[in-house]
Symmetry: C2
Subunit: 280 residues, 2 copies
C-alpha cells in the first residue's frame, strides 16, 4: 500500500495532510485528509476521530471550514476525513448532486452499475482505518462523527460496529433515510427495490430493535432547511425509546445546515469523544 502525500499545512501546531492511495475496496484511487495533533507528529500515538462529510463534499470541507484544529490539538486527537464516494472517470456517476460521485451514502452497493465501486461502508470502517493505523502514529482507538449524509454514515457505522468505536456523534444527520427523499433515491439505486435490504443502513430501523451500547450525541439546528423533510431527528428519539437506547439530541435555535453551525459546536463534539477515546 503506497500513500502519496499531496499537500501538507501546519495548523494549530500540528499538521493537516492530504494523501492519495489506491483503494482495493473501492477499486479506484482515493484521497483523504488527516489532522495530526502536535504529539502525533512527535512520539505519542493518539486516538482517531473519523469524520464523514455530507452530500457533494470531499475531504476538504471539514478541514477548511470546521474550525476543529485547536481543540483536536489540545485534546490530542487525530481526525481523518475520507471523501464521500469513489471518484474518477471510470466510476459510475449521475447528473444529480444526491446520487453517484459525492453521494456514496456510506453503504455497500449491491446493484449495477454502482456495485463495482460504491463500497463506502467497507472503505470507511475497514480499509481506511487499516491504512491509517499502518502509516501514522495513532492507536487503534477510534470514534466516528459526521454531518448530514455523513451523520447517517457515522450512526450506521457506530451502531453496527460498536466494538470498533468508542463514541458516535452527528451534526444534522439523515436519521431515517428510508423515510427521507435523499435516502430513498440513493437506497433504490444502490441497494435495489427490496426495502428489507435497506434496513441495515437505517439508524432508526437499527435502533428500534437493538439497544445501542455506545454514547451518541446529535446536534441539530432548528433553522435547517432540510430538517422536516430529510433529517427527522424526532424519528431517532422514537426509535431509541423503543429499544431503551440513549441518544442525546440537542436542538439549537437559529442554526442552519452549514459549516457555520458545525464550527459553532465542533469543540463540544471533540470534548465528548475525548472522554471516551481517552478512557482506558
Amino acid at each position: 500500500m503506497m500513500l502519496e502525500n499531496i499537500s501538507q499545512n501546519k495548523v494549530a501546531e500540528g499538521w493537516h495532510k492530504q494523501y492519495r492511495h489506491s483503494s482495493r475496496v473501492l477499486n479506484c484511487d482515493m484521497r483523504f485528509a488527516i489532522y495530526l495533533p502536535p504529539n502525533a507528529t512527535q512520539h505519542t500515538p493518539v486516538p482517531v476521530l473519523y469524520w464523514l462529510s455530507g452530500l457533494t463534499c470531499t475531504d476538504e470541507n471539514f478541514m477548511q471550514k470546521a474550525a476543529a484544529f485547536k481543540s483536536a490539538a489540545a485534546l490530542g486527537i487525530a481526525i481523518v476525513a475520507p471523501d464521500t464516494s469513489p471518484r474518477g472517470e471510470l466510476v459510475a456517476d449521475d447528473d444529480s448532486f444526491d446520487l453517484g460521485q459525492g453521494a456514496g451514502f456510506y453503504l455497500n452497493a449491491t446493484q449495477p452499475p454502482w456495485n463495482t465501486h460504491y463500497q463506502m461502508f467497507d472503505y470507511v470502517t475497514q480499509e481506511l482505518p487499516s491504512i491509517i493505523e499502518a502509516h501514522f502514529l495513532v492507536t487503534d482507538v477510534k470514534s466516528i462523527a459526521g454531518h448530514s449524509m455523513g451523520g447517517h454514515g457515522a450512526l450506521i457505522a457506530g451502531l453496527t460496529l460498536p466494538e470498533q468505536y468508542r463514541s458516535i456523534s452527528a451534526f444534522s444527520p439523515i436519521c431515517h433515510p428510508m423515510q427521507s427523499p435523499w435516502g430513498q433515491k440513493a437506497f433504490s439505486a444502490y441497494l435495489g427495490q427490496d426495502t428489507t435490504q435497506w434496513r441495515k443502513y437505517d439508524a432508526c430501523e437499527w435502533l428500534k430493535s437493538r439497544k445501542a451500547t455506545l454514547p451518541i450525541l446529535i446536534d441539530q439546528g432548528d433553522a435547517d432547511s432540510f430538517l422536516a423533510e430529510q433529517l427527522k431527528p424526532e424519528t431517532v428519539l422514537a426509535a431509541a425509546k423503543l429499544s431503551g437506547s440513549e441518544v442525546q439530541l440537542r436542538m439549537h435555535s437559529g442554526y442552519d445546515h452549514s459549516y457555520y453551525f458545525i464550527s459553532s459546536f465542533i469543540d463540544e463534539h471533540l470534548a465528548f469523544h475525548a472522554r471516551y477515546l481517552q478512557s482506558t
Copy 2:
C-alpha cells in the same frame, strides 16, 4: 443607500451575513460580509475589525476558513470583510490572477482603464465604514487587519489614517510592494510608470520617513512559498527602524501562506485588537 441581505448564518451565537449594495466610489455593485457578535444583535454597539483579504479572494474566504467567530463573539467585536476589488462584466479585468478583478490592491487607480472602478482605498476606508456605521449596531471605533495583498492594504490604511483606526495587524503581508513582482505589476497598471506615485501605497516607503503611531502586529510563516520574493517582512523592520517606529513581527516555524496559518493565530490577532478597540 440600500443594502440587500443575500445570506445569513447563525454562528458562535452571533450572525454571519452577506450584503449586496451599489457602491458610489467603485461605480458598481459590491458584496461584503459582516460577523455580528451576540451583543451586536441585541442592544450593545460593538467596535469593528475590518479584514482585507488577499489575491483572488472574495468576502467569503475569511468567513469560511479563518475560525475567528468564537473569539470575536467572546470579545464582542464585529468583523467586516469586503471583496478584494470592484466586480462585474463592465469592470475592467485581466486574465492573470494578480491584476484586475480579485486583485484591487486597496489603492485608488489613476490609469485607464482601471481608474473608472478601481478605487479600493476610498471604498474600504471611507464608503464601506460609513455604510457599516449607518446600518448596524456598531460604534465608530475600528481596527484593520488583512492577509497578503490585504496585509499590505491594512498596513497602508492604518498608517495613512491613524486617526481612523486603533490598531493594525497583518498575516503574511506584501510589506514592500514596490520591491515585489506582484506589487510592481499592479502599481504599474493602476498607477502608471511614475514610481513617485507608488510610494504612498508602500508601507516600507511610508515607515522610512514617518513614525507610526498605531500598534502594529505582523505574523509570518517561515514555510511560506512567497516569503522571499513577494512578502519580505525584513524590509518593514528595516524601514521602521529608520523612523523609530514599533512593529511587532512574529516568525512562525513551519507555517505557510494559507488560511490554516491564519486560523492558527487569528485568536491572538483578535485579542491584540480588542486591547485597543475596547480602551476608552
